[in-house]
């Protein structure tokens, strides 16, 4: 399957490849089916800022048959690591990851929330031991439906605005 087959529908205005909004990528990762409005948070998770040298394409609020609208992020010359994917799943639970090599999708999978998260999210209880100078990494038990994170130290539950708590 080529990259265009995997996701260019979302980047094009119709079925014709001539009208593609963003060009196909040779090597890298395409994150598709991102919850509309979360693309910039995905960039934040990936550590992509204005000073990043990587070639990055972002499409926001793209009409989508299944989702109504969605965001898409293409990062060239970078294959995402599992921990990064875990983070993305917190804010875009329906996202799909396409790993591209030589214009071919060599791997495609849906993000999946892990059962626990370590060092990814900061506990929002200011009095939690994980928010001190102690040698401690934040750890959460994940409830998938609805998405809720329970701090293993203070039992505090984060259910809303998870993106704001990403480390």
């Amino acid at each position: 399957m080529t990259e265009s087959g995997a996701n260019t529908d979302a980047f094009s205005t119709g079925s014709s490849k001539k009208e593609m909004r963003v060009r196909r990528i040779k090597h890298g990762t395409v994150i598709d089916h991102i919850t509309a409005g979360q693309a910039l948070n995905v960039l934040r998770i990936l550590g992509i800022s204005g000073t990043t040298k990587a070639v990055v394409s972002v499409a926001m609020n793209v009409p989508s048959g299944v989702m109504g609208s969605k965001d898409i992020v293409k990062v060239e010359d970078r294959e995402l690591e599992e921990e990064e994917v875990d983070r993305i799943s917190l804010i875009a639970p329906n996202a799909t990851i396409n790993i591209i090599r030589d214009f071919e999708v060599i791997e495609k999978y849906k993000v999946d929330l892990p059962d626990s998260l370590e060092g990814v999210v900061k506990c929002d209880n200011p009095n939690c031991i994980s928010n001190t100078n102690e040698p401690v990494t934040s750890k959460f038990i994940v409830n998938k439906k609805p998405v809720e994170l329970r701090c293993i130290y203070c039992d505090h539950v984060i259910s809303e605005g998870i993106a704001e708590h990403l480390i």
Binding site: I129, S130, E134, V136, I152, C154, D155
Partner: protein, 303 residues
């Protein structure tokens, strides 16, 4: 495997039952019968927050079992004042003692301490978090003075910040107790805890009036509204003195009702209640000793 005691959530109903059953055997020792069960063992007490009864009942439990106690002393004069982390303090004290009792200002401190400790950590309160030894002695009091089966209990007071009531309500859910939560609107039990209780299958209802439930309960568990937990003092003033157990109130109670309080009390229980058949809070304070003896013996593998 170390026997850390961090949160009631780490205990199954069966494990709690075993502790409560064993505690009864320690009552004669708690009353003064000689024992050398923990002779040669050392308990370290680290209290980063003030405590009298919890600290003293642990010390009593340890000493009556023939063991020794070492103490961190005042925080101001210890290495903590020099900026030492809790993790380091725990690593160091673990070289001196066979178990550590820890009270800390931060939620989750005991859980983290356990990750760094080579000896068992017993959580004696972590901020607004857990206080499992209090819960176990509360359960023990109910078992000894009332009954844990088909229990109808009203938990009254500060249900938002009070750490004892969160642990207690969770543990009671394991016994399928019928719980009525009585508090001012501002101090209701947090939703996340109520959700947990319901997930356990607990029967939980809420009200602001103690009068409406007093004639239909076996246990009245009242707590102090803790000034020190309020971020805003004016919020405290609004709810201070919301509930008071008096002889008048108890006229409507069942004959076998018992009144419990983790102490210290301020004005939640009229001293005139102390002499009535209902009062059990001083017995409750005593039961802390056999229960903590059980936990110390288990932690130090003497049981």
């Amino acid at each position: 495997m170390l026997h850390h005691i961090i949160s009631m959530k780490d205990f199954s109903r069966d494990e709690i039952d075993i502790i409560l059953k064993r505690a009864k055997g320690f009552e004669p020792i708690a009353k003064g019968k000689k024992s050398d069960m923990l002779s040669g063992k050392i308990l370290a007490t680290l209290f980063y927050e003030p405590s009298t009864r919890t600290r003293m009942s642990f010390e009593t439990a340890m000493k009556r079992l023939g063991g020794d106690v070492i103490d961190l002393g005042s925080i101001e004069s210890s290495s903590v004042a020099k900026g030492e982390t809790l993790a380091d303090t725990i690593r160091v004290i673990g070289n001196y003692a066979d178990a550590i009792v820890l009270r800390h200002t931060r939620e989750g401190a005991a859980r983290m301490a356990a990750e760094h400790s080579r000896v068992p950590i017993i959580n004696a309160g972590d901020g607004a978090g857990h206080h499992p030894t209090q819960t176990l002695l509360d359960l023990y009091t109910i078992m000894r003075e009332s009954s844990l089966s088909n229990l109808k209990i009203a938990i009254v007071g500060d249900l938002k910040y009070g750490r004892t009531v969160h642990s207690l309500a969770y543990a009671l859910s394991l016994y399928r107790a019928d719980m009525t939560l009585v508090s001012p609107k501002q101090l209701q039990m947090p939703d996340v805890i109520k959700k947990d209780l319901k997930k356990q299958g607990a029967s939980v209802s809420e009200t602001v009036n103690i009068e409406g439930v007093i004639d239909d309960i076996d246990v009245l568990y009242i707590t102090r509204i803790q000034k020190e937990r309020f971020p805003d003092p004016s919020e405290y003033q609004k709810v201070a003195g919301s509930y008071r157990v008096t002889e008048e109130l108890l006229k409507k109670a069942r004959n076998n009702l018992i009144v419990m309080h983790p102490l210290p009390r301020v004005d939640e229980i009229d001293p005139a209640v102390d002499g009535t058949r209902y009062a059990r809070y001083f017995e409750q304070a005593f039961y802390g000793v056999p229960v903590r003896m059980t936990l110390l013996a288990m932690a130090m593998e003497a049981l």
